[in-house]
């Protein structure tokens, strides 16, 4: 079965801390994505990657960075966590269909609280 694993289900951090959210997929997918989900705002794309060592900004990259050193791992980094980054973070991976469509598989999510 296709699997996307997010390292932490729940995290509580303090303002100013550096936070790492890890995501690993075992499907040999090329593409990986980080979203955040907030009530009333839906899912918003933070960063994505179509290849190792490649990254592209999504709609809300400010305050975040990413790392993709290996194909299976895509890390989201909060350099200095702030309270407005309290959210549910969702990682997804995809293999493009013959038509070029990204068919997404999501991890279970990481709920981050910044105090």
């Amino acid at each position: 079965d296709v699997k996307v694993t997010q390292s932490s289900r729940y995290l509580v951090k303090r303002t100013g801390e550096k936070v790492f959210l890890e995501c690993v997929q075992d499907m040999d997918h090329e593409n990986m994505f980080w979203y955040r989900q907030d009530p009333g705002l839906g899912l918003r794309l933070i960063y994505f990657s179509y290849d190792v060592k490649m990254k592209e900004k999504g709609d809300i990259p400010e305050g975040y960075s990413v790392s993709r050193e290996k194909k299976e791992r895509f890390s989201l980094i909060l350099e200095s966590a702030s309270t407005n980054q309290t959210s549910m973070y969702l990682c997804a991976s995809s293999q493009q269909s013959p038509s070029g469509a990204n068919v997404l598989t999501f991890g279970a999510g990481s709920r981050l609280t910044v105090l």
Binding site: A92, G100, G109
Partner: protein, 110 residues
């Protein structure tokens, strides 16, 4: 950018009832997916359905690409069907990102 609207925003049904969820989108797409987010936050991909009809057990989906809408049917609802249903679309242009609707929150009463 492309707009995605889902209706209704909320739906409360008795167990055993049938339901239809709708997703309208404002431009041509080459990718439409339906997801179910369970109460613990996990998003499960239900269908990849850029056009046509697919069925999986009690769930089926139809996308009419020329009229820019998709429907998700749930028959004989069970309490485990509760959660939020999202549709997401993507256009052919690689620069376009996947756009999610705001979701339909479904609550099935026992």
């Amino acid at each position: 950018g492309i707009q995605v609207e889902q209706s209704p925003p909320d739906l409360i049904l008795q167990e055993g009832a049938n339901s239809t969820l709708r997703c309208n989108f404002s431009d041509s797409v080459n990718n439409l997916q339906w997801f179910h987010q369970n109460p613990w936050g996990q998003l499960i991909n239900l269908f990849y359905i850029p056009s046509g009809t697919k069925q999986n057990g009690r769930l089926s989906a139809t996308t009419v690409a020329t009229e820019r809408y998709s429907l998700l049917y749930i028959s004989s609802s069970q309490t485990t069907d509760s959660g939020v249903y999202f549709c997401a679309v993507e256009r052919m242009n690689r620069d376009d990102k996947i756009i999610f609707g705001k979701g339909t929150r479904l609550h099935i009463l026992p």
